[in-house]
Symmetry: C2
Subunit: 396 residues, 2 copies
């Protein structure tokens, strides 16, 4: 692009915030459902055809939406003109903040990653971290108009949050991070829990695209859980949702670091698995890949550990499905490698613990890089902008 930093010749697509709630609803539906005719949109949004004509007009004029060519119709009557959304027109930035590292990506409205970077955190002091974030955001947003910025971090964040509450990793408490970043960058900013951000990414543009109900279960350093109900990522009144890490799976079993016997963490975290495999072999420095290699060689210890892990996964999935009636569960996280040797026992445990009346859920493994977490945060930012505001009125 020709433009220099901050120059006026950036293509200035109108901000999504300028759209009314009706238009946002249309954009949201198009984002999730691909090109759709006005008639189909009207049906999905529960509006009259007349409304859609009216709502779509300004979107067409602005160029955000354009009319495609009618498909070969298998219908009887006049074919509809599909509306196609120019999702690449709007950019978002997603940031995943951990105790020692920051990941950030720039993505378009559909969640396609355009650029990304990462940096180590030198100090957990608020001004230092803030400066790091701002530097990365400015770098990624150079010569781009960024619609919104999403930050995902561990802890008790609600779906669209603005302050960091009790973050043990960073040692922060009650930090108005969204406001700080917004002031420094000029970009509207929202916070979210990291598991919730990952879930949002899965739901809008990952393997769960278009599903209204699903759960995302992550295994790795810890166990994370995100739940989508009625198209919305659940966050609970305090952001305290999905604390499934210490669910008891079995009365007899290994101990987790909190002293629970047979809890989910004791079977599923990477540390638990590597320790369980390594100790009987007299090795403490084993990693997950080595554990998998042992299993591949037929090592009985490794096979048993993975089988137990699979069983734990199956029990958790069954509980979720029984309680919430979910039709799909997505497995993710950097410990997902274990699934190779755990899938059979997982399926067996799932079948055993599923309620006889419940429908068998679709279970999908979603292998992804670490930037998936940051991408999820970008999706959260997009969802935030397009969210139908419940409370429009802010008193003076």
């Amino acid at each position: 692009m020709l433009g220099v930093q901050g120059s006026p010749d950036i293509v200035d697509s109108p901000s999504l915030t300028a759209l009314g709630p009706a238009a946002r609803g249309v954009v949201r539906a198009l984002l999730l459902g691909g090109p759709l005719t006005r008639a189909e949109l009207a049906r999905r949004l529960g509006l009259s055809p007349a409304s859609l004509t009216k709502t779509a007009r300004p979107l067409l004029v602005s160029g955000l939406v354009s009319e495609g060519i009618a498909l070969v119709s298998e219908q009887r009557g006049r074919p509809g003109a599909p509306l196609v959304l120019d999702a690449a027109r709007h950019q978002f930035i997603g940031v995943k903040l951990t105790a020692d590292e920051i990941f950030a990506v720039r993505a378009d409205a559909r969640g396609r990653v355009e650029a990304g970077q990462s940096a180590q955190i030198e100090s957990a002091e608020i001004p230092a971290v803030l400066a790091d974030i701002v530097a990365m955001v400015n770098e990624l947003g150079r010569d781009q108009r960024i619609q919104a910025l999403g930050i995902g971090l561990a802890g008790e964040q609600t779906r669209f949050d603005d302050t960091v509450r009790r973050n043990n990793y960073l040692g922060w408490d009650q930090v108005p991070l969204a406001h700080l970043v917004e002031e420094a960058t000029g970009i509207p900013t929202v916070l979210s829990g990291d598991a919730r951000a990952l879930t949002a990414g899965v739901q809008w543009s990952g393997p769960g695209k278009g599903m209204s109900e699903l759960a995302v279960l992550t295994v790795g350093v810890g166990i994370g859980l995100g739940i989508v109900l009625e198209d919305k990522v659940l966050s609970g009144p305090n952001g305290l949702v999905g604390m499934i890490g210490h669910h008891r799976i079995s009365d007899s079993g290994p101990l987790c670091d909190l002293g629970h016997r047979g809890c989910a963490s004791s079977y599923l975290t990477t540390a638990a698995i590597t320790a369980a495999i390594g100790v009987p072999h007299g090795r403490v420095d084993i990693d997950l890949a080595q554990g998998c290699a042992l299993a591949a060689e037929g090592d009985p210890v490794a096979l048993r550990v993975f089988a137990d892990a699979g069983r734990a996964l199956g029990v958790i999935i069954a509980q979720l499905v029984n309680i919430l009636g979910l039709p799909a569960v997505i497995l993710a996280g950097d410990g997902l490698e274990l699934l190779t040797y755990a899938e059979d026992s997982m399926q067996a445990a799932l079948a055993e613990h599923l309620d006889p009346v419940a429908r068998h859920p679709k279970v999908v493994a979603f292998t992804s890089g670490f930037d998936e977490w940051a991408r999820g945060a970008a999706v959260v930012a997009c969802q935030w902008l397009l969210d139908p505001p419940r409370h429009r009125y802010t008193r003076p």
Copy 2:
């Protein structure tokens, strides 16, 4: 036979269906929050004061709402005039349908029961049951204008359903019961799952009144679960929610009738408890009250059975709170008597299995008669009428 709707000497308060969505919102808030000033309503509904003046006017004119006297103000400025809702003005009927009996109550909008009756079901044939229901409804609705009718039954019903899907108790499948009853009585009718109806009753006018998030766990013949999230009773995509009856509590434990070892049903259903107490004593005809009596005498078998039941309850509550972040769990059902001797172990198990980060929930026992189920169905009918319609448009 036609309903009594047409009789000319009924005080004809305008139907709630005539209210627009804005007015319904006000009525709903007043129903849940008692008398509220316009200013407070505006804050709760996220509207401007101007909106409230406008919305409240027709309600005041119609007499459904009247202005109370300002309370002794502890505020600084002008005291607001509380709007009080005349909840007794609108009647609803709730019906609980089981395999062999029908319970029905008439209640006002606030869920206060005005009358009730029950009848045995002679035959499970659809026309026979329909006739029974219609007769009871006509009897309860005599000389009254009934706003809506709610029917609660076991099975895979969604929150506001219209057809009975796969009901094993009655042997029905795909019966458009709501439509049939509506035609025969002239009263708008809605179906709901029975656990969901009970939950609705708890949420609107029971011990959970005013709470936005809670779960209702029932013990008795089976184990039921209803979940409220963001003020709405959860029903899932297929109405398959809360199938918690066969969750595994322990590897070792009694068998349930499906052959699961140590599942929730095997610890908590009344049949399981009475059998567990009775068999060691060589008695098969024991009931729950007798079991309690034995426990009161210090019978070690009974005490142990109740302690195990309490532990199962505690585990289930902990799981629910961990996953959903619920601040409160209400216990109900006709088997609740067991709690007298199970509470300690329940609390212990809850504390043990709750995630270290999770907030300890409020656990409340809600002892109630059998008509609580029918009352819940009446509340569902009221919620249904006052629900903000997502899809207003019905195409011609």
